[in-house]
Symmetry: C2
Subunit: 333 residues, 2 copies
DNA sequence: CTGTTAGCGCCTTCAG
DNA sequence: CTGAAGGCGCTAACAG
């Protein structure tokens, strides 16, 4: 018998004595705040599970993505998961690097709004870490994803403008290699087509989802010999830039130019939103960012607990909501 | 000699032969995209270092904290660190739970804007995980922290109002148990005192840093028999609520009421900020959130690389900036 | 049912 | 310089 064994035996033999004598051996210890604090790293190594999910967003300035992350964080936390947050800054290399890091850190799953969908479509050799795409989902993607119907969203916003009498409609598109951008563009085109309104080339602007391009394209539109009477702008950051352009050129909104933006340009705060306080109060197509994040996380967690690395063709589609405020005016024909 | 050894020996003996014969044994493998993807979990366990930092913020709706996180993420990433993001929702229990989780996950360090400074002041038995406080730093805190001089910031904003002729000044305070809130209140009081302006009790409102309290307190102030001519509001979320109250009551700003808010109510986006587009364009005391986050992360990383768990009394203090826009009007005496 | 052991994948040390 | 072994802290499997 080794000395260690002998000692243990001794302790065990004496234990009842102490207890009987009334010593509170365990009370204070278990009441101690730092009770027992297991090493999750070691545990993760052993059980091959980190209880951590990685989320990669392309833009941390965009309140839409911040909302998504809020939703993800809430859902993850309530299931005991932690979230590793990565910002790709809309840079493919960064995104790749982030994904590599997440995989090497053995996250249990990944939530991704990709800036480089080509590599997703190609089917990355991503081990078999479960993946849920959000917001940016390739058409026909065969996997778990959450998104909105961008064609429909842009279509109905455009139709709203047309129904109010607008015939000179401009569109500021995002990066057209992204499905969100091309789908919104398609929705816009479709609505015009259905109303038999020709689309003038100079009214279709191609931006990149960043504020400057909204500003620049806005300026160009406003300074056209025949400026449009309404502009649909395909994301929140560009809308910011567009509003700036409008304010600088002193064009009156909505009197001279009507505007609809995609996304609230500021986070929803307990029922208030800054859009309400803008001049003019901005009419927007609002995506339920928080809910999308929550949902995406839940889908991922379900995949994890059911042990199904492939999301079975599940695409959850949310409805965008046209929030009518005061940046759109009716137009006499 | 065990069979395994024998096999290995054989392989080693034959290796040169294959190489000599021109077989490219390693080329394709090392050129493979998934090259070698080490298990960071195992590595972390071995080297007792996770290259991960935890950051705990109290409010994910606040664009100030989002800015901070952006800064943290950038700094962390550029040093190869990942960040575990936690939102305490201004709830002490959540915060405790998050901290416990972060410690059990063996993060290398923690960045914290605490909602429960009492426990920090008490000196938590936090192992010796390096900690950098940001934004919310107890007075006289003996550790690494980054913050702004809140007394000074509120003082100079108040002085600005006084210099413009205002004598009926109201203040909407945050949670006064937090140093940011009490310091800003103190700065406000000091400025009045120095100008020999008495502080009327009904002009000093106590909020909780959330939008509703800005709304509620704003409403109360505006409906006073003798309403103030200017309001200083101590954070961005409450300012949102206040603006809402102003807009609902149709009190004219800045003509009837001047307003200064703390923090930009929306994230800075490449030089544009929504404040510029609000009606009225909002004058604010802006904290450099992004820089604060960057700095806090850098301080932490330095502590890590120098292996100094105690930040040596280092408090880095940023300057807040009064961004004068159009929500403040001069007042004839 | 309790107590022991093997090994997760890596790095560091030490032997050859 | 190259290769083998031990062990980080944990848990699942197994032995008593």
């Amino acid at each position: 018998m080794k000395p260690a064994h002998r000692l243990r035996l001794l302790v065990l033999a004496l234990l009842p004595l102490f207890v009987w004598a009334g010593f509170d051996l365990f009370g204070p210890r278990s009441a101690d705040i730092r009770a027992f604090n297991p090493d999750e790293v070691a545990r993760s190594l052993r059980v091959k599970k980190t209880t951590t999910i990685g989320v990669v967003i392309p833009d941390f300035s965009s309140s839409f993505f911040v909302d998504v992350v809020r939703g993800v964080e809430d859902a993850a936390r309530s299931s005991g998961y932690s979230v590793l947050l990565c910002n790709s800054n809309d840079d493919q290399q960064q995104e790749q690097r982030h994904l590599t890091v997440l995989l090497s850190r053995r996250v249990d799953g990944i939530l991704l709004a990709s800036t480089d969908l080509y590599s997703i479509g190609r089917g990355q050799p991503w081990s078999n870490t479960p993946l849920v795409l959000f917001d940016r989902v390739p058409n026909g993607y065969q996997g778990a994803a959450v998104s909105i119907d961008n064609v429909e969203a842009a279509y109905s916003a455009t139709k709203y403008l047309i129904d109010l009498g607008h015939r000179s409609l401009a569109f500021i598109a995002g990066r057209l290699d992204l499905p969100t951008a091309s789908d919104r563009a398609e929705g816009f085109r479709k609505a015009l087509e259905h109303a038999h309104i020709p689309l003038r080339g100079e009214y279709f602007k191609r931006g990149d989802y960043h504020p400057q391009s909204g500003y620049q394209n806005g300026l160009e539109l406003l300074k056209l010999p025949h400026p449009p009477t309404a502009i649909l702008c395909s994301n929140g950051m560009m809308t910011l830039g567009l509003l700036r352009a409008i304010s600088e050129t002193k064009v009156l909104c909505p009197d001279e130019i009507s505007v609809i933006g995609f996304d609230e340009p500021a986070p929803d705060a307990y029922g208030f939103n800054l859009s309400t306080l803008l001049k003019p109060e901005l009419t927007v197509v609002a995506q339920p960012g928080y809910e999308m994040g929550q949902r995406a996380a839940q889908m991922l967690l379900t995949m994890l607990s059911n042990n199904e690395p492939e999301g079975k063709n599940k695409l959850f589609t949310f409805q965008a909501e046209l929030r009518i405020r005061k940046s759109v005016a009716a137009r006499a024909q």
